[in-house]
Amino acid sequence: MAGRGTAHLRSPDASLLRVEHLVVEFPVGRTGLVVNAVSDVSLDILEGETLGIVGESGCGKSTTGRAVMQLPPPKSGTVVYDGVELTALKGEALRATRPRLQMIFQDPISSLNPRRTVRDIVREGLDIWGIGDKAARDAKVDEVLEAVGIDPANAGRRPHEFSGGQCQRISIARAVVTEPRLIICDEPVSALDVSVQAQILNLLEDMKARYGLTLVFIAHDLAVVKNVSDRVMVMYLGKVCEVAAPDALYASPAHPYTAALLAAIPVPDPGVRPDTSRVLGGEIPSPMAPPSGCRFRTRCPRAEERCATEEPELRAVADGQYVACHFPLTPGETIDFGPRAG
């Protein structure tokens, strides 16, 4: 799967965000080793679209989101947002793009400063950029707080007086206050109770409609991503496996890893025993020494010699469905991962 390639990208003119050959590496201490967090990932998003990025922990999905924000900037690759190449910008020029490109984080508690009031937190973006006078800023803060379902009368309180779900609403308010066009949601519901998750997902949909947003939605929960995304990108160990519309992806996954992820979604019926033959065994390899060729081959029952030598490129298997695999699944085909190896 170690997918690379740009076959899934659409016309550069149509896309709001276009990322090509993104590479992010982190040095490990002074050992000289590097963590290959993101290796040659390309993606694009049309205006008003929601792109879901899924994958297990450590697959580089959050790193991809942060690299788009240039926090920190990627090692190589280009990020073009709204016609501006962010990767070529530095200092003030890069800072000037900030209010139009925002981010929502996973941990609603950690992403709000415990020592500041909610009003200060939400108003910060307006204060930084000197947008409007004081009265206009406060009015704007009231407006977005109301839009996310927080009573502006409580805006004088500090984050610890709110629940996790409410804190995430405040984070959303902070992200939309400078009226960005693109928001990167980094696992925005993963830390929340299931009942609250649905509320936050609905709220994001509302915000999208109300403020004309385009979203990148990062999650490890396929069920969550399916409901909100127009397009889903599956990642594994810093590479792209498969890109498709959610319905096609869920109905007929072409990549063995996608199939494994789908098989791992629990069935809400205690009588149903999980089918262990369809559950992926083994551990994710170390990103410091990723496998050659296709990075998924060490866990893939279909892997052959070619997978170790030749890295698969993304290619279309159906209309709008792209997969990086030498031996993709055909529609209706299931895959047997065999007895659980340790």
């Binding site: 984080f105 996973q106 910060e124 379902g149």
Partner: protein, 344 residues
């Protein structure tokens, strides 16, 4: 379970209220709602005002410490203002020299805590001395906080090479014995003041500078450690994503969270500085006699421990109780401010 449509969302976004709304729609089990409502109520009770009360009793020890410190500070200020009915701390009553406390001897009956070897009233010396000791210790720690705090904040926020450089500077400073460094600094600063013709520079100022400089790495390292951990929080990343500049982030996002740690260590620092002032005074480079400080009262009569122990022990007790109170209070402050974090 039907999710409330956006229009049905009450403007008050309490998730608990929403559950009640869903119960009203018949989409939630009654028992569940009661349980959730109870949880909600107890959450409300333990939040806000309630949270401040629960487990927040200060305890007798802390109040004793606060009481002692308040007493010392008030005495020091009032003595300095001259409103206390004290004897002149520099006047010698030769007949009473080395008289112990609670003496019933006619000539010394006015001296409740006795006199030093020059016949000066111990109470007056201690009261005026507390001003010198406190002003030097507080000034030194404030000096250390401003500079150590600034460097620590910068090191902790920027990390990497900036951190490496500043931390190694701190370590170099820490490797020099504090008292020796302070001694050298006092000698150097006094010499520098004299050579520029400013012989009237208050020796207390020199002491503040010397002890303050020594305290920079200590306070700086605490600040750096705290700033380092807070700088990795996502709200700092969020501030950067919003385009805040480093100085703004350091002052608005990181510093307010680091201040409790700085405050708590500052209380301990004042205690250490009081001892340091005493040490330097005993070594003869502290507050210059005849102006009293707790340290130089001990220093002047350090040879008379056997014959007149009260001259040594009374200022030592003042230092002891003050340092104890500050240490105790420093721990209490740290523990209490940590609660806020864990409650979040």
């Amino acid at each position: 379970m039907p999710e409330p449509t956006p229009d049905a969302v009450p403007p008050v976004g309490a998730d608990g209220n929403r559950d009640l709304d869903r119960y009203a729609e018949g989409s939630l089990e009654p028992g569940l709602v009661v349980a959730q409502a109870n949880l909600y109520v107890s959450a409300v009770e333990s939040g806000g005002e309630g949270r401040r009360r629960v487990g927040r009793g200060l305890g007798v020890g802390a109040w004793l410490a606060i009481g002692w410190l308040a007493f010392i500070v008030i005495v020091a200020v009032l003595a300095q203002l001259g409103v206390l009915p004290l004897k002149d701390p520099n006047r010698s009553y030769v007949a009473c020299a080395r008289r112990g406390p609670f003496s019933t001897d006619g000539t010394a009956s006015g001296f409740l805590l006795g006199c030093d070897s020059n016949g000066r009233d111990m109470i007056a010396r201690l009261a005026y001395g507390s001003w010198s000791s406190l002003i030097v210790a507080t000034g030194a720690v404030l000096f250390g906080l401003v500079f150590g705090g600034t460097f620590g904040l910068i090191a902790g926020y920027f990390g990497r090479r900036t951190d490496a450089v500043i931390t190694s500077l701190f370590n170099v400073f820490l490797a020099i014995p504090a008292v020796v460094l302070a001694l050298a600094l006092v000698a150097f600063l006094a010499g520098a003041a004299a050579s520029t013709g400013q012989s009237s520079v208050d020796p207390k100022l020199i002491l503040i500078l010397a002890i303050g400089i020594v305290s920079i790495p200590l306070l700086g390292r605490i600040t750096r450690a705290s700033a380092l951990s807070w700088s990795q929080r996502e709200f700092v990343l969020a501030a950067r994503a919003q385009g805040a500049k480093p100085v703004r982030i350091m002052l608005r996002e990181v510093l307010p969270n680091v201040l409790p740690a700085m405050f708590s260590i500052a209380l301990l620092g004042i205690a250490v500085a009081i001892v340091a002032e005493g040490t330097l005074s005993i070594l003869g480079v502290g507050v210059r006699p005849p102006t009293p400080s707790w340290g130089n009262i001990i220093g002047l009569d350090r040879g008379r421990l056997k014959e007149s122990p009260h001259i040594i022990f009374l200022p030592a007790l003042m230092i002891f109780f003050t340092v104890l109170s500050l240490n105790f209070l420093g721990d209490v402050v740290r523990a209490r401010l940590d609660v806020r974090e864990s409650a979040v």
